[in-house]
Amino acid sequence: MDRRKYLKTLAVGSVGAGLLIQSCETEKPQTQQAAVTHTIDRTPAEIAREEKLRAETFFNEHEMATIAVLVDIIIPKDDVSGSATDAGVPDFIEFIVKDKPELKTPVRGGLRWLDVQCMKRYNKSFVDCNAEQRIEMIDEIAFPELAKPEMQQGVAFFNTMRDLTATGFFTSKIGIEDLGYVGNRPNQWDGVPQEVLDQYGLQYDERTLAESVKFDT
């Protein structure tokens, strides 16, 4: 396919993708429009910076749509918890690239690289591909040790997206519950629970038991 046809197809694809999103109401979470309330200590300079970042628009609709599809491929809904989009990961990614501008070009460029690869293979952008085509494409870049050398930029991009998705998911309420993290609350640390010590064949020695902080139950 010659270059002019690529670009034209891509443009058509983008418009198509935009329409596709509007017409197909997915369970995408509402984007926050309300003023941000801060529940953690913020200096005036931090509040000002955050307001500035939130007012900025970086990703366009097509890019956000592509991100939404990608993150749900990376972390889908399963019988433990919801998907990455359920956990608000696309909005997290949208914010974080503005917060860390060094991510802007790698993610934007990676999304475009992905679309161009799909154009070459299927004559459609990534989001316009069907599920089977999307997975076929992702399979080329999701396994660093197996990928072909010419896919290396895609591997680097997918590594980044995998990392961002994992961070965004497991720091969300859904993700923390999924992980089973039960800290971040007042506690009495009386050592590793006995059943876990037994599991690994460990025990505290006499001296440790005698000296360590004790709790009245």
Binding site: T39, D41, P144, F158, T171, I176
Partner: protein, 582 residues
């Protein structure tokens, strides 16, 4: 009419302290208890962990999920306003050297976000020249400081265990917390190598202090670095400055960037001049005695910028040594995975905000190719996820079978990847060495002749290189860490590819944020800046109580020694005031 004028603060004080961190906070506390009218200037804003709260917040309460930001280098929840780069406050380097200079700008300074590692110097640490011929001895000894360490232990509270190790003096300890799971494996593994792993010594109240109703006991949320709403750990802001303020004898002026110390025609200090960051006006404040505690390099900067006919090279710089002998701790790290910890049972493993065990220096340097030791800090376990959680899973999930017992190619996506994050959670761990560097005159900071900051204050220029001693020490750290990880049943996953070409992964100077030495202590005014009581040799009513006076740093974090020496120096100061010598 000009609105720009230098305004004199109407009230006159006995003592003016610059800096509210460990040294300045302790000086303010001691002076307040003695009824001495004191003003405490702090370059940053007011900060109170009970009011400026990030403790017990969830990662999703930050849009960057706790990642670092330009305003908080160590993370969005970290109690550190400041970082390596401050807008409008540059610093420079010469001869292609590197020194990264951290500034926390807030009441309490770095003690709000530090690691709470509270180690006494040992007898050897005051007399290193006697042992290896390098550097200089302190003019004082452990015996001079021991009574103050005791009082600091009792005033502030520190947990630990009595071990009877000569150069790791035991303190007056609160009970330590039991080791975590990965710490038990490390202990077992290190034992096989004859490397000691003992309870850590952190200034965290595992028990309430008997005479202190203002501070609560630790509730094991592992978030000391966020500041504690019940003051269960040591921050100068909560433990020293707050009571000082409550005494009514101390005024705190926040957002005050000190420009210079003012002196009279005889060369005595009479007060300081500062910029009020809120109204950007210039002010002076007068005092009988000036105490600098702005952190080692910042205090040196103030002195070097305080030139006068009596002190042409900068205040108290007749020796020419202000800014010299700058040294920071060394640092190198390694991490691994404990393969048998995959699929861990979940329980609350937070504990205190730091390691429950550590390794004090255990070898004889006379038998090694480097002169000074290091201690080892450990981390790992099921911590609260933050930005970066799960990063780089492709380096792990291809090497070990997943929950189904099968191997699969690294990386991937989908349900099996999602389960990998769960499966490998809490199985990683690591360690960091913190070692003593040898203080050298040709590692220093000086005033950059060409550059001022946004307040018009000339900035610092750094000149610093690690020596072969530090590089060899880092090499030893790496070799040791690999042994410990493998002996504990672990597999090294990162930090093992460093070589001489990158100085074995030695952290850049300044990165450990233990910089000391710039206003060194000594008996000889030609070879030191302050005397045995942190008093400037050539300006009797000037004291320096941050890390600047350290002659050598030890393989131990400086804070506890800063506190002890500040208490000692301030009591001496009060005594001299009573005797009318000051």
């Amino acid at each position: 009419m000009s609105v720009f004028q230098i305004k004199e603060t109407p009230k006159s004080y006995d003592v003016c302290i610059v800096g509210s961190g460990a040294g300045g906070g302790m000086a303010a506390y001691v002076l307040a208890q003695a009824g001495i009218k004191t003003v405490l200037l702090e370059a940053g804003p007011l900060y109170d962990p009970a009011k400026n709260v990030t403790q017990l917040k969830w990662p999703w309460e930050s849009p960057r999920r706790g990642s670092s930001s330009p305003h908080r280098h160590f993370g969005d929840f970290d109690a550190a306003y400041g970082g390596w780069e401050l807008e409008g406050e540059p610093y420079t380097h010469k001869d292609g050297t590197q020194f990264d200079w951290f500034r926390a700008r807030m009441v309490g300074g770095r003690t709000n976000h530090w690691g709470r590692i509270s180690l006494r110097f040992g007898p050897n640490d005051f007399k290193r020249k006697n042992i290896d011929g390098l550097g200089d001895n302190w003019p004082i000894s452990y015996d001079d400081v021991a009574p103050y360490y005791d009082r600091v232990d009792q005033l502030i509270g520190v947990f630990g265990s009595k071990e009877g190790i000569f150069n790791e003096p035991d303190g007056i300890f609160l009970p330590p917390p039991k080791p975590r799971l990965h710490e038990l494996f490390i202990k077992e593994g290190a034992k096989k190598l004859d490397i000691p792993v003992i309870p850590s010594r952190l200034s965290i109240l595992t028990r309430p202090l008997p005479d202190n109703k203002d501070r609560g006991a630790c509730f094991f949320c592992a978030q000391c670095n966020r500041g504690c709403t019940v003051y269960g750990d040591f921050s100068s802001s909560s433990v020293l400055v707050k009571p000082a303020l409550q005494s009514g004898n101390v005024d705190v002026i926040p957002n005050a960037m000190v420009r210079e110390v003012i002196t009279d025609n005889s060369g005595n200090a009479t007060g300081v001049s500062f910029v009020n960051k809120d109204d950007l006006q210039e002010y002076t404040v007068n005092a009988r005695i000036v105490v600098l505690a702005a952190s080692a390099c910042e205090s040196a900067r103030i002195l070097l910028n305080s030139k006068s006919s009596q002190h042409p090279n900068g205040l108290a710089n007749e020796s020419g040594l202000v800014g010299k002998y700058l040294h920071d701790s060394t640092g190198a790290d390694m991490g691994g995975i404990l393969p048998h910890l995959v699929g861990r049972k979940r329980y609350n493993e937070d504990g205190v905000g730091g390691m429950h065990v550590y390794t004090p220096w255990w070898l004889d340097n006379a038998k090694l190719d480097f002169p000074r030791g290091y201690h080892i800090e450990y981390w790992g376990g099921m911590g609260m996820p933050g930005y970066g959680f799960g990063s780089g899973i492709q380096y792990t999930n291809g090497k070990y079978p997943g929950r189904d017992g099968k191997m699969k190619p690294a990386g991937g996506y989908g349900a099996s990847l999602k389960d990998d994050y769960r499966y490998f959670y809490g199985a990683t761990f690591g360690m960091s060495g913190r070692g003593e560097a040898v203080a050298r005159e040709d590692n220093y900071c000086e005033i950059d002749p060409n550059t001022v900051d946004k307040y018009g204050i000339p900035v610092l220029r750094f000149h610093y290189k690690w020596s072969d001693y530090e590089v060899k020490q880092a090499k030893h750290m790496k070799e040791t860490f690999k042994q410990i990880i493998e002996s504990a049943g672990g597999v090294v996953t990162w930090g093992h590819t460093d070589t001489a070409a990158n100085q074995y992964g030695l952290a850049a100077p300044g990165r450990i944020i233990h910089e000391v030495g710039t206003t060194r202590m000594g008996d000889d005014p030609r070879r030191s800046v302050v005397n045995r009581y942190n008093q400037a040799h050539t300006c009797k009513n000037l004291f320096i109580v941050d890390g600047g006076p350290f002659v050598s740093q030890a393989d131990k974090n400086p804070t506890w020694t800063i506190l002890a020496l500040s208490m000692r120096a301030t009591e001496y100061m009060i005594d001299e005031m009573k005797k009318q010598n000051l």
